[in-house]
Amino acid sequence: MQATSTLDQAEAPPAVKSRSFKRAFADVREAWDHRELWGHLGWQDIKQRYRRSVIGPLWITISMGTTALALGLLYSVLLGAELPAFLPYITAGFIVWNFILGCITEGTDVFIANEGLIKHLPAPITVHVMRMVWRQILFLLHNLVIYVIVMLIFFGTLSEPYRMTENGPLQPGLSWTIALAIPGFVLLAVNAVWVSLLFGVISTRFRDIPPVVNSFINLVFFMTPIVWDASILTKVVKGDPEDGAWRMWIAELNPVYHFVEIVRAPLLGHTVDWHHWAVVGGFTVVGWMLALVILRNYRARVSYWV
């Protein structure tokens, strides 16, 4: 039996290449157009996780609250910090960290976990990332309840200039700057998208990456000033007051510190330091460029790799 080609083929193949920045941008843009879909799915993820439990999503809040309380009590003693200043510090830091942690660990798994959907429905791959980040934002909103409670309790201390530790810098206290937490968080979320796009695509190809990331992320937690305060690094142990200055680099060289700080500092009425914004801005630009290059080259490969 011969193939009878009765085709009247359309004009010459289009010049549109599969690997182009145009397609990479289109993927992100179309994902935004699909916001009703990922919005609904992310919301569903939260509802489903606690469907058969009695107090539902409040579990997220309770576990966060107990962890923050226990660590706050412990570390305020260890570091000789004032509890009314330190407990809000740990709470806010933990809430931001949990968001970052969720985005990175689930980001590595984002395409692998959605294999069924990717192979059955033609959707921009960024949709799956958006759903995951949106879910993490909803988790964060749950945790924010703890922040509000802690704030109500310690408002007296935080509303005036205060020090976290005896020799720590004087913090100006809560003021209008608290509003800066919102652009700070938006910037953090924008970064979360490129991080999980990048890690997600690489992890789909190389399945070593998720376990590697999961084991290193604990180290990052301990290296980041969350349960300890960055000012402690420069604390003069003995003699020369210039002696401790270099230790500040332990925090400064850690990108996560800057991301935490742009959201946490306004929430606590700390001095808002412009250089954190500059560093985060730089990461946003460079990171998105990197993610777009990855999207350009490997976007179409993801459905083959999952």
């Binding site: 039996m1 193939a3 009878t4 080609s5 009765t6 085709l7 009247d8 083929q9 359309a10 193949p13 289009p14 549109v16 599969s18 009703e36 879909l37 609904h40 799915l41 569903q44 509802k47 489903q48 469907r51 069924g116 959907l117 990717i118 192979k119 059955h120 429905l121 033609p122 959707a123 190809r205 190389f206 399945r207 070593d208 990456i209 179409a300 459905s303 083959y304 790799w305």
Partner: protein, 266 residues
């Protein structure tokens, strides 16, 4: 105008085993000299050199043996797989119906599943809300729609999925076989809706082994064999070549199911 054009497209799947999927191997391989990372990965050529042009109004049946590449071709046409070599262009909104279970969550209620499934098929929330009652009526599931999906029988799930799928307004409809497992009376109803759905869509590609479905919904056919398009032409021509006899000649009224003859009376 909706259309799907494919030029000399191939779909190759890299088969990573645990070893070649690790970074270590890639890094070590680079040290030793120029060995392409992809080059060492075995490849399965699922589709080879496909050239097709499907236009608005075409109703194409997809036939071929198991493993001939029917499902992969449907995914290529849906844009899920972009060709590894060659080009493809898809103009129009694609509604793929490959697996009635995808996008269904066993823990949530039937109503919520209707909504999610619809969103996946490119509907908006508002559009789905206006369709929910119609779907509920069609599925005849009644109060069961409030129950989580895990309490449903297989047939009930198929009803729900069919209800959603047949309520949408697709531009490009891609159907894979697997629409079964429901009782005859319901199938008659589903057929009517499926017929309407096909009539509303701009372009249909339907992979199935059922001659009845092909005769009812399609006027053209593609015969896939070992990842090639062996033949593309009118339904009767292709089916005759594929089966070695003309199936329409043998399709006597008394052999048809009561369902089909019921529809034939229209």
């Amino acid at each position: 105008m909706v259309s799907i054009d494919v030029w000399n497209a191939s779909v190759d799947f890299p088969i990573f085993d645990a070893k070649s999927r690790s970074l270590k191997k890639l890094a070590l391989g680079k040290v030793g000299g120029k060995i392409g990372s992809e080059g060492r990965v075995p490849i399965i050529e699922a589709l080879h050199d496909i050239t097709l042009s499907i236009k608005d109004g075409d109703r194409v049946g997809l036939v071929g043996h198991n493993g001939a590449g029917k499902s992969t071709l449907l995914r290529l046409l849906a844009g899920i797989y972009e060709p590894t070599r060659g080009q493809s262009r898809i103009v129009g909104k694609v509604a793929p119906v490959f697996d009635l279970g995808v996008g269904m969550d066993p823990e949530i209620s039937g109503y919520e599943n209707i909504m999610i499934r619809g969103l996946f098929l490119g509907m908006s929330r508002k559009q789905m809300e206006s369709r929910v009652d119609d779907i509920a009526q069609f599925t005849e599931l009644g109060d069961y729609l409030q129950m989580p999906l895990r309490t449903y029988s297989t047939g009930m799930r198929v009803r729900l999925a069919l209800g959603v799928v047949t309520s949408i307004n697709p531009e490009i409809l891609l159907l894979d076989e697997g629409i079964g497992a429901v009782d005859a009376a319901f199938m008659a109803k589903a057929r009517d809706r499926l017929k309407n759905l096909v009539a509303r869509s701009g372009l249909l590609v339907f992979a199935t082994h059922s001659d009845e479905f092909l005769a009812e919904f399609c006027d053209k056919a593609i015969w896939m064999d070992e990842g090639h398009v062996k033949m593309f032409g009118s339904l009767r021509e292709v089916l005759t070549a594929y089966k070695g006899f003309d199936p329409f000649e043998r399709m006597h009224p008394h052999e048809e199911t009561p369902v089909l003859s019921g529809n034939g009376g229209e």
